[in-house]
Symmetry: C2
């Protein structure tokens, strides 16, 4: 089947219309300074008039560069309360569009080997210009693979290996958790427990550090801590343990909203009131946090800034600024709701 006429306007048509060569139109579009002002204006008018848009396939073929940025989708974990990745993808795509890129989604079954193969295939098939990684971790195979191929990329999540060469954007979980800890301390709580993730998780360790710093700053004890899986049930059980303690917790700072919701359930089971009896804080500002009663105090990640910064970094990399990788650490915002306030829960 031969290609069907497509009605798309090409360089040549613009050229004919403006009475110049195709090459000059190309220059007028991509290197305006090379073209005499008068001609340039005439050409740009023609572009406008005819509604010309450059064909990216042709460009990609010629330039080996497609203005495509790849991102791998991950399954939405239904057990998790967070909408984070959905918001992230929107923010990233908005920023990409604004900078003249398009996002192309990559799919791979779980496992970094599959993922790397998917990246490789995508690179061979399309000339994606760059990749965005999310949820990077220590010894991340994807990082070394992309680096070995010489493909530009930026990651949402810092490079935990101390890899200075990688551009990343991250949210400071330590500062956030410290802010939450200090907030509940300011409400007068002295027995502040922490429910977080196991030490394997770099993100979890950071958040735990924040709690430790917050406690130490006020010379509070740090004996109440748990490292559990990120599930509601684990949060619930950990909360019960900390409330059964001889000197029980009066505040629980959690590494996630999911864990905090487990704490709320435990409080419910014991007939304790969140806020009034035990202060609770989460992390991520999931939709659920605003919807439960009382509302859950939590930390909001500035996800739109993350998206914009990542695209910015990639833009720099593609412009050839390889020598100066960006490392951006953003502060999350403490959203105070009823679950950490002594007063009668209002929302």
């Amino acid at each position: 089947m031969a290609p069907v006429p497509h009605g798309h306007v090409t360089l040549v048509q613009v050229a004919r219309w403006a009475g110049v060569s195709a090459q000059t139109v190309s220059n007028a579009v991509n290197n305006p300074e090379r073209v005499a002002p008068a001609t340039r204006e005439r050409i740009l008018a023609a572009v406008e008039e005819l509604g010309y848009e450059p064909n990216l396939s042709a460009r990609a073929l010629r330039n080996r560069s497609s203005s495509l940025i790849a991102f791998k989708t991950r399954p939405a974990r239904t057990d998790k309360a967070s909408l984070l990745m959905d918001e992230f993808l929107y923010a990233l795509n908005a920023a990409a569009a604004e900078a003249g890129y398009h996002l192309i989604l990559c799919h791979a079954e779980d496992g970094s080997a599959n993922e790397i193969k998917a990246y490789r295939d995508l690179l061979k098939k399309t000339s994606v210009d760059a990749f965005v990684l999310a949820e990077t971790h220590r010894n991340d195979d994807r990082v070394s693979a992309l680096r070995s191929w010489g493909v530009p990329f930026a990651s949402f999540g810092r490079s935990w290996d101390g890899d200075e060469a990688t551009s990343w954007v991250d949210v400071d979980g330590r500062a956030g958790t410290r802010a939450a800890t200090e907030h509940v301390a300011a409400q007068g709580h002295c027995r502040i427990g922490h429910i977080g993730w196991p030490a394997e998780s770099e993100i979890g360790s950071e958040r735990r550090e924040g709690w430790l710093e917050g406690c130490r700053g006020r010379e509070l004890e740090t004996d109440l801590q748990a490292a559990v899986a990120d599930t509601l049930e684990a949060g619930r059980q950990a909360a019960h343990r900390m409330l059964d303690s001889s000197r029980p917790a009066t505040a629980l700072v959690c590494a996630s909203d999911t864990l905090a919701l487990g704490v709320l359930r435990a409080l419910h089971e014991r007939g304790l009131r969140p806020g009034a009896d035990v202060a609770v804080t989460g992390f991520d500002d999931s939709p659920t946090a605003a919807l439960v009663s009382p509302g859950l105090t939590t930390l909001h990640q500035p996800i739109d800034v993350v998206g914009r910064q990542l695209i910015q970094s990639i833009d720099n990399l593609l412009a050839g600024d390889l020598r100066d990788p960006q490392h951006v650490l953003l502060e999350p915002e403490l959203i105070v709701r009823g679950s950490s306030l002594p007063g009668p829960p209002r929302q």
Copy 2:
């Protein structure tokens, strides 16, 4: 800057390696039956050996078809509890990948004019093969635009205009709501109220119909109904109204989890127990539904099937089956949790 060597394997290299012409390699890959078995095998071995992957930009340029399917991202509404779109995008992308397509994301500010312009631009620039629409509504401008351009598309959400020509996949909100209604009726409830959306919403109307059918089937009254915005607060207020009634509701069937969570809050404020005192059901099976205490009975949309069916439809359209648009209506699954059960809430 001249294109840099890319190390990608091309048809010509495979051809040389196998001692045939480029054309024959192309045939071996795309139309195996045209090539003699022996040659074919030799060529495919070479393809394997060299790790050849066809360059999609070149193909797109030549064929005016890119194996790209476009989807517009929408902002995650933080006020909404549902993760639906996140899951949908994952499912769609997985299905696309399996069928050999890639998803490219489209961005547009709110407003169908912007959206249509974004589609137009994307078409001019990238020869996307097809579009997937979501959240279609009556008199959807996007549908008429795509149709007028002759671009294949399929939508998540039926064609409300009775447009037989459009391929769509949808989830039967009516059947779902009816199932929820019958479920609470089976628990012995006779005063079953419905909190739904205004009549402008086709989806909302469908869900309300389901409730009506459920009630009529058991000869229950249908006087308790509310049409409100999809917010927690609206659900809360509507619930109070129905519980203040002279013959108050003992069960509330809601058009969304968000509304149902508002109902739960109202019950909390009145000291009533969800399930034991008043049965509550939502719709969408948002993560929150599983996380609140007691769990919220709700309807789960078979989102992975939706994704697969949409890609299937698009595949058919691209294969030229224009005469037989698919209309797939899927049944949601009732997930029963504590909020609709009389017993002591266990989860």
